[in-house]
Amino acid sequence: MLIGKILGTVAAGKGYKVTFAPTYGQEKRGGRTSCQIVISDSMDSPVISEADVILVMDEKSLDDFENSVKKGAYLVVNSSMIKKEVQRQDINVIKAPMNDIAEDMSNPKSANIVALGTVLKLIDSVSYDEISRHLEDTFKGSAVEANKEALQLGYDFVKVK
């Protein structure tokens, strides 16, 4: 939810038509969550038919969303928590051990920001620098630098483009 909101806020600030649509269960804490983000030049459906990039953090999410990736587009997999193989052959799969990267920098809570870093390599509408700057507004104190480092590690891990 947080990284979706960061992505949406930065893209909306640049003048794109953005919708951030979250889904979560009735649990007060825990439970599964997902969000769909549309960054467009025109007003579009907040519900996505096929995505250009899908990030899945756990195996259940892989099961649910593998088929929603557009042909030839990207599926980003958190390999720290997903041991299962991706079945589809017609998409690009990027695996990054997001929890392990976050734990290695002694900040396991920042796995989501590592994930945001990996996804940024695949998105043209917002840049790494814009997101990195925005983290200064999102976090406070020492968390700013820690999360910027997490973003960098995630971003550098992906070797495409």
Binding site: V18, F20, V47
Partner: protein, 355 residues
């Protein structure tokens, strides 16, 4: 009007209502409407307004009626179950001719259901949740910007007709964040000659919901009916998109209209003559939007079992040309899913080589 901000639908509606002078809020927490209540709870102390979390929507809606009787702007936001409980007060407000705004952020029913997007409260909203011969205007926003814009519009219409107005949102739109432009602050004119304000140096006003006799009450009912007829004629709102040359027109409101809009665009990219009518007022239903289109094919799409279909059928010449596609229980079609449904109908009814 200021710059655009990236804001959640529920929060946008609450802030916009405060900016147009609604400083009285009564409610009971219910997902997916709760952010409206939370926002009011946080803001009312600094606004010198009133926020009360009532024990149920029965009392909250009657508190709204009480404030409305003094001519001040009051609001309650809830979900379908809360409207069910507040339905008695809606009927009483229509009877007493009290202007107020109610918000239903729909969730899938019946019963507890779930907390996501659904449109199953169409009948409840437009056919009357409460008892008696009454109508109330129902506005259906389809974007965060309309969540903003419809708050002041709802209060203006409520004041104009001395009748409650319902904003019918849903668990999808309520949670979506989009860019929206918020209005400047305005102070409403609440010097109504009918309001209960203390009767100093004037004759006492009377606000009542009961009859002295059937004859007198029929007379009063006829006055109400005249007002509803005037609303029906003057307040139909809709948006038409690419309908002129269309052979098939999608009819959808709220979040489904957003999905349908994208589906229609895919159809147009594939050279299919498909358009869309988006009812903005669900009551009065915008039958005027169908003028000149009465003989076309229609596909009604909603997140319910087809509740708007009968209103569409009443607005066209041949009921057999009206089809329906919907999802239930909180499921939402994707634009592609709806587009496939358009293709099926198009192949069946249109002479087209491009499909």
């Amino acid at each position: 009007m200021g710059e655009k901000i990236f804001i959640q639908g529920n929060v946008a509606l609450a802030e916009s209502a405060i900016r147009c002078g609604c400083k009285y809020y009564f409610g009971y927490p219910i997902t997916p409407a709760s952010e409206i209540l939370e926002y009011y709870a946080a803001k009312m102390p600094e606004e010198n307004g009133v926020f009360i979390q009532a024990e149920t929507e029965v009392s909250a809606s009657n508190m709204v009626a009480g404030v409305a009787a003094t001519g001040k702007r009051a609001m309650m936001a809830t979900s379908g179950p809360g409207i069910s409980l507040g339905a008695e007060a809606i009927s009483y407000m229509c009877s007493a001719q009290l202007p107020a705004v109610l918000v239903n952020v729909m969730r899938p029913g019946p019963g507890d259901g779930d907390i996501v997007a659904c449109q199953g409260d169409y009948f409840q909203a437009v056919k009357g949740a409460g008892h008696g011969d009454y109508n109330n205007i129902v506005l259906a926003p389809y974007s965060v910007q309309e969540m903003v814009d419809f708050a002041p519009l709802a209060f203006e219409l409520a004041d104009k007709y001395r009748n409650p107005v319902l904003i019918l949102s849903d668990g999808g739109l309520a949670k979506v964040m989009e860019s929206a432009e918020l209005p400047d602050r305005t102070t409403p004119d609440s010097n109504f000659d009918w309001a209960l304000t203390g009767a100093r140096n004037r004759k006492a006003n009377v606000i009542t919901t009961c009859a002295k006799s059937p004859k007198q009450w029929e007379g009063y009912n006829l006055i109400l009916q005249e007002k509803f007829a005037e609303m029906k004629d003057a307040e139909q709102r809709w948006e038409s998109y690419e309908t002129e040359d269309a052979g098939l027109i999608i009819v959808a409101f709220g979040i489904t209209a957003r999905i349908a809009f994208s589906a229609v665009r895919i159809a147009r990219e594939n050279n299919m003559k498909v358009g869309m009518i988006r009812p903005i007022t669900l009551w009065p239903f915008p039958e005027k939007a169908f003028k000149g289109n009465e003989d076309k094919y229609f596909l009604v799409s909603e997140l319910n079992a087809g509740q708007m279909v009968e209103d569409v059928k009443l607005s066209v010449n041949d009921k057999r040309k009206v089809s329906f596609y919907g999802r239930l229980g909180g499921m939402t079609p994707t634009p592609k899913e709806l587009y496939n449904e358009i293709c099926n109908l198009y192949e069946k009814h249109m002479t087209c080589t491009n499909v």
